[in-house]
Symmetry: C2
Subunit: 375 residues, 2 copies
């Protein structure tokens, strides 16, 4: 067996769109750019394209590295590459930064053409459905009429679901990993605390902090610390950190005492140094709003009636953010519509973040699913 | 059967202590006051006293109301009173505000006798063990050599455990409800996010905000919102709030849209208006530090060897903050020492906050346990 390899050095590309995009929120983006990357080669039949959708803190940089930044590895590099489960010898893989993002696509940091100022908090609300529409336009540009598959974890999985509902003819398989068909009250509650941390940070300046030369780092840091707790499982935190004390005993201080405090502060600081606060707000709202069953009186089976794709749904036993029960809701709704649905519940201790790891059984499921996929 | 009644109008009392209190943190409180309330009558044998210990946001005001504030009902009024599970016809019940608190006992808002300024962030760290020591001194003052029982929920339950370990001869029964023998990494992580919200609030002023005429309301509000999520269960939030939208549909705004957002903001604002930020910080640290097994290499059974009380341990099925498994750890450690331990795992949807409710089976367990208790 040939060892799996990296896709190697990659180059991000840009696509400019001048046709206005009408958004679900009622707003319109007059024009916009999407930044994206591709790996592998589109075959002559244009039938081997796979779209990878990113979650809250992901981007278009799914695999490989940049020649001038060799340590900047794509967020799903363990999954995508030659000989990897999503094998770029067979598939043409597309990653795209979502609208409203902060990694190069048009977002709050971009200039608002109407004012010349950065959009900031005036950037219109974007939804999962809007992202999917923009992705479909990018597919048009790339000459992809139909994706062999759309795949994503967490919020990325919601985009795969939305593809199956809004472009049923343009998608062969929808793969939703560690996802949920809609957020619970508890999910929304965590998002709301994170938003309030940002919105009430005096450095937020109503979302126009760019003009003040500051960033609401305190709020972003708190949001990320809180997020991280929900990405990990109780067990994995216990195993990794437990009650380990930096000084071996209590020193009675608000500086770091327990190692878990150090980890969370580090993650929070790192995130606050590069992520955009307005993007964070927009993305959590997109999560809250997503609810394909809303216009069907909450009936998820009715919502999925228009889907024609085959489905792979994957959940992780210790994921309490989007627990296996949430995936089973989707499976049941799909079975109700006699869709072809495969479901894997992976025994993994790492909680929600499991979808980013190369846990053996998990990757074997994906490898097998992609291997069997006709292109 | 006579209907259970309120203890009626109550009056808080104060006890001043001039003997310095050496604290576990190494600091010393030169003198201090404790505010407390009592209900019922101490019998001639002084054998019917029950100490009620409070959790993070509780106080000495356990039952009844104040004549000039008829709506200010004690936090465990459904449990304590004539004919109630902890029956004040039989028992003499004592509630006390812990040191470092903000409801009347000496704490960060009090004047530091050495400087004449409010203690603020200079108030020494206090631990569960220090609280228990102070409570024992109050018992001395009240002529109580031995409590029939010490009872508490959550952090209050930890105090009951500490009583059984540090004053084994002064306690007949320890009743720990919705408690844990020590926090997990996840528990500490939630506390740390809450602390960082307060510590990084510009209105915190290093803990000396009193002198600036402000309070770190933003930080306190965030801390309380986050806390509330952990007090409720996923299911109870889903049942109470679900995805209910204030306007019946998404309006794309950072104002309240989902009802859960409204609830959390309201709880946060209410709390921030009256609770002291330094007390919040101290109390979360007391929670983090509590670990009776620490000096026994993590061996909880070894830690409990010195306990002689009888125990009642109560947990709630949907409590994910201090899950039933945490109570079972205590039960196993006690059984290992051949202690008399009763354990009730109550099927209740309300999560951690269940210990404050008058759920039928839960109160029946407590009523039965107190009824059988000799005084």
């Amino acid at each position: 067996m040939i060892q799996p390899q990296s896709v190697g050095a990659v180059v991000a590309q840009r696509a400019h769109f001048t046709e206005p995009l009408a958004l679900k929120s009622g707003g319109t983006l007059p024009e916009y750019e999407l930044v994206y990357e591709t790996y592998g080669t589109l075959n002559a039949a244009r039938s081997n394209a796979v779209l990878v959708c990113h979650a809250l803190s992901g981007s278009h940089h799914v695999a490989g590295y940049y020649a001038d930044e060799p340590d900047n590895i794509g967020w799903w590099d363990n999954l995508v590459g030659p000989g990897k489960p999503l094998d770029t010898h067979r598939f043409f893989v597309v990653g795209v930064n979502n609208l409203g993002g902060c990694h190069g696509s048009t977002g709050p940091k971009s200039a608002n053409p109407a004012t010349g100022r950065r959009w900031g908090a005036d950037f219109p609300f974007v939804t999962v459905e809007d992202w999917v529409t923009a992705q479909a336009r990018l597919a048009d540009r790339l000459g992809i009429e139909r994706f062999a598959a759309v795949v994503g974890g967490s919020l990325g999985g919601m985009q795969a679901l939305a593809w199956s509902l809004h472009y049923p003819k343009r998608i062969g398989h929808a793969i939703a990993i560690a996802a949920a068909p809609r957020l619970t009250a508890q999910n929304i509650a965590f998002n709301e605390v994170a938003r309030q941390a940002i919105l009430t940070d005096p450095d937020f300046h109503g979302g126009h902090f760019y003009e003040h030369g500051v960033v609401p780092a305190r709020g972003l840091k708190l949001a990320r610390m809180l997020g991280h707790i929900t990405y990990l499982s109780d067990d994995s935190m216990a195993e990794k950190f437990g009650r380990s004390l930096r000084h071996g005993r209590a020193v009675y201080s608000y500086d770091v005492e327990f190692e878990i405090e150090s980890y969370l502060r580090y993650q929070g600081d790192k995130f606050a140094a590069h992520f955009d606060a307005n993007t964070y707000l927009l993305t959590t709202k997109a999560l809250d709003y997503f609810d394909p069953a809303f216009e069907y009186g909450g009936n998820l089976a009715a919502a999925f009636a228009r889907a024609t794709a085959d489905f792979l749904i994957v959940s992780f036993t210790t994921d309490w953010r989007f627990a296996p029960a949430r995936s089973r809701e989707m499976v049941n709704a799909l079975l109700h519509n006699q869709r072809n649905v495969s479901y894997a519940e992976i025994d993994c201790a790492a909680g929600h973040d499991s979808f980013l790891l190369d846990e053996t059984h998990y990757h074997a499921v994906l490898r097998g699913y992609f291997n069997r996929m006709g292109v």
